[in-house]
């Protein structure tokens, strides 16, 4: 660990904190339907969307109608994406003449992109045509992110409103998210990425003769337009197999920094949107603080572990010490331009959010370095989190925390003036229990079936970690992987596809039910006995509840994977 390393982490935190209020303010105006500086240009286009789709934009819906609209839209997107992949051989923008994607892989990919997971069991360069990348995958990078944000806004409205059934209009929230937030940022930052070296073309792959006379075929494509929304929408599906470690996706330390900022910016800003909508920004900052503390803890662990390097190389004539000429540490699966600190930071950011883009191979992280990303996802990706899903996940934990605090002092818990009653607590627990049910259940099945074991690339506890990470990533809609696992098999394509669907939609339904039930409640005026949810006590309690729930649930599984591997590594065991 070096002074420069800490400076890079600090600079990142400063930029995220600085962006939270301005972006939060802008987003609040968008969701309140107020005019913004982009309205003049975008308002006519927005109206075309509503007119053509038969949507009455002033009509609001209850939570069931909101949820049904969201589900129908997701199913329509799934069908469209599946069809494009199966038909890509007959469609244009396919200079490499790639044929139809196999049915199980196309199913998995469709679920993956519709649920904002972007798990990739395929190698993009040799599987997906440019048309599939653009009209299929890029589209879902936008809309699955917009769906997540819309849902979070619906829940926030539940807290902010009183005595009403209406929590908003899904179609309007969806359209406004894409038009006013995601698309403008993508155009501006996307062009910036091109200026820094990210390609944006429709050329066939370039064949070059290298300096030593060998032939090298270099994959090309419309990379920048997908790269930017991949991070901004916390999607994470790479244009190339190596994702953000590929020099075309992430050519320099500057693009790397910008991509890291994109990943957490909306998730962080949403805490401010929450604060503004419920009428007190400090409520948002309390949530932000909880996220920030858990985030920093994760970064420091990964950075500390990775900079020490692999003890198995200690006896070799190898120099792994950090100095002015190299960053040292565990460089297997990392790029020189990012070194240890930018790779550790990225690994924590991408799993704190439900992004799943990677700039280093998580499979080659040291055991405890790889445990932090896994744990981040297991806790529910509530550390800033996926766009939207991070906030609504965190608010469910807040409900549990309020309930626990209420039990301790023996009074009916309230959060933001809303009485938290049995229904909300039951629904919050139901949503939270979906994660271990899917993660641990599917992992248990995979590691006893020969077909599941056959796909593991590493032996010993690391192999178990590969399967555990796969279902954690799928259920958490993250999409990163211990990528040695050969997941492009009918077994993994199907089970991970199911895990992604369960993790997304079975979590959302109880969450929307809470939104509806909260919106219908009356406001209880604050009194002497009201527990302040914007103070240090609440922050500490919320962190405790998150860690206890996550720890109790997942510690046994982690003990079998990264923890035992850590002990084995220091005992000099290899597999």
């Amino acid at each position: 660990m070096t002074a420069n390393g800490f400076l890079q982490v600090a600079l990142y935190c400063v930029v995220i904190i600085a962006l939270t209020r301005p972006l939060g303010g802008y987003m609040t105006r968008v969701y309140n339907g107020e005019a913004t500086f982009l309205s003049l240009a975008l308002r006519p286009l927005e109206r075309v969307f509503y007119l053509a789709s038969g949507i009455r934009e002033n009509e609001e819906h209850d939570w069931r109608a909101y949820g049904l609209a969201m589900l129908t839209f997701s199913i329509a997107g799934f069908v469209a994406l599946y069809a494009i992949q199966r038909l890509q051989g007959l469609l244009p923008f396919n200079p490499q003449q790639l044929g139809a994607v196999a049915p199980d892989s196309a199913f998995n990919t469709s679920v993956s992109f519709v649920t904002n997971t972007n798990w990739q069991s395929y190698v993009p360069e040799t599987t997906m045509s440019y048309l599939t990348q653009m009209a299929g995958l890029t589209v879902h990078n936008f809309v699955s992110a917009a769906v997540g944000i819309a849902l979070a806004i619906a829940l926030v409205r539940g807290f902010a409103r009183r005595s009403t059934q209406a929590i908003g209009n899904f179609w309007v929230d969806l359209t406004r998210t894409v038009l006013y937030i995601l698309l403008p940022i993508s155009i501006v930052v996307g062009l910036f990425l091109v200026s820094q070296g990210v390609p944006q073309n429709l050329n066939p792959y370039t064949e070059v003769t290298t300096l030593e006379g060998a032939t090298q075929v270099i994959a090309q494509g419309p990379v920048a337009s997908q790269e930017v929304i991949k991070e901004l929408g916390t999607n994470g599906g790479g244009f190339f197999n190596a994702n953000s470690s590929h020099p075309y996706e992430n050519p320099s330390s500057l693009t790397n920094f910008v991509e890291m900022v994109l990943i957490l910016s909306i998730g962080a800003a949403l805490t401010n949107v929450f604060g503004r909508m419920v009428g007190k920004e400090s409520q948002g900052w309390a949530i932000f603080t909880v996220m920030g503390i858990l985030f920093l803890a994760g970064v420091l662990v990964v950075y500390g572990v990775e900079s020490r390097g692999n003890p198995a190389f200690a006896e070799l004539p190898v120099d792994a010490a950090a100095g002015t000429l190299q960053s040292g540490g565990n460089m297997e699966g990392k790029e020189v331009r990012f070194g240890i600190v930018s790779s550790s930071l990225f690994a924590t950011i991408t799993t704190a959010a439900s992004c799943g883009a990677v700039n280093a191979m998580h499979d080659s992280l040291l055991p405890l370095g790889g445990m932090v990303p896994m744990l981040n996802i297991m806790l529910g990706e509530i550390i800033f989190g996926g766009v939207g899903s991070g906030l609504y996940g965190m608010l469910l934990f807040a409900i549990i925390t309020i309930f626990v605090a209420g039990l301790m002092v023996g009074r009916t818990p309230e959060y933001l003036g809303k009485k938290i009653e049995a229904k909300e607590v039951k629904m919050a627990m139901l949503a939270i229990l979906i994660l271990p049910f899917s993660i641990l259940g599917f992992t248990a099945i995979a590691v006893v079936l020969p077909t599941g074991l056959a796909s593991l690339a590493n032996a010993g506890p690391h192999g178990f970690s590969e399967a555990l990470y796969a279902y954690t990533s799928g259920t958490g809609n993250n999409g990163s992987a211990f990528a040695g696992i050969s997941a492009n098999t009918p077994f993994y394509n199907t089970t991970i596809g199911l895990a992604m669907w369960i993790g997304r939609f079975l979590f959302i339904v109880p969450m929307l039910a809470i939104a509806g039930s909260l919106a219908a409640k009356k406001l209880v005026p604050a009194s002497e006995g009201t527990f302040h949810t914007d103070g240090a006590l609440f922050v500490g309690l919320l962190i405790g509840v998150i860690l206890i729930i996550g720890g109790l649930t997942f510690f046994p599984a982690l003990a079998l994977g990264p923890i035992v591997e850590h002990l084995a590594m220091h005992a000099g065991t290899t597999y």
Partner: protein, 203 residues
């Protein structure tokens, strides 16, 4: 159900037109006008021929060039295309090794490479990035430590004094952005192009 299906289908269609066609194609048009070199992959020409991309590493094996990091990329086996065989720096299928820290294959590979390379520069430990595979398999860079480690070999093969090469490496080293972000690095392809230019100069 019609209340939901019609808007869902229309929205999917409109979003595809906007974010799946108008946006990427518009970006392709703008990028090609504003940044044609970068948009087309930062390709480097020498003597009228494209010899690579400055962002994509390529394989160097001969003693007269600086070598890049080990690459774990594979390509189809010429005998049986359904199987993969090692093909370092395959820029049509990027990939890391994905070997875990307790993998026997990793520890053995690193050990063999470290002992083999130690002969290149006796008494100097091998920099860690020179014996570990990169995340993409296409890392265009090496650390300054790894560039300097190769000085004796390249100097002997080219019959250029080591001091002259050390100066070249220092000139070709890119520092951190604003002195803060990322890590210092040397682009191997650009270094080797400069090396060829240097060798061609009359001395």
């Amino acid at each position: 159900m019609k209340t939901y299906v019609f808007p869902a289908v229309m929205m999917t269609l409109l979003m595809t037109l906007l974010t799946g066609l108008a946006y990427p194609l518009g970006m392709t048009f703008l990028a090609g006008r504003l940044f044609p070199y970068q948009a087309n992959g930062s390709l480097i020409e020498r003597d009228g021929k494209i010899i690579g991309s400055e962002l994509i590493g390529q394989n160097f094996e001969t003693a007269r060039y600086f070598h890049g990091r080990p690459s774990a990329t594979t390509g189809p086996d010429p005998k049986d295309p359904s199987k993969g065989v090692p093909q370092p720096y395959n820029a049509g299928a990027s990939s890391g090794s994905n070997l875990g820290p307790t993998s026997k294959a990793l520890v053995e590979r690193v050990g063999a490479d470290a002992n083999a390379l130690a002969a290149d520069n006796p008494g100097v430990p091998v920099p860690i990035d020179f014996i570990t595979t990169s995340a993409s398999g296409l890392d265009p860079d090496i650390t300054p430590a790894t560039a300097l480690f190769q000085l004796p070999r390249v100097a002997a093969a080219r019959k250029i004094p080591e001091d002259r090469l050390r100066k070249l490496v220092e000139d070709m080293t890119t520092g951190r952005f604003l002195g803060i972000l990322g890590e210092p690095r040397v682009n191997v392809l650009k270094l080797n192009l400069a090396l060829d230019t240097l060798s061609a100069e009359p001395r």
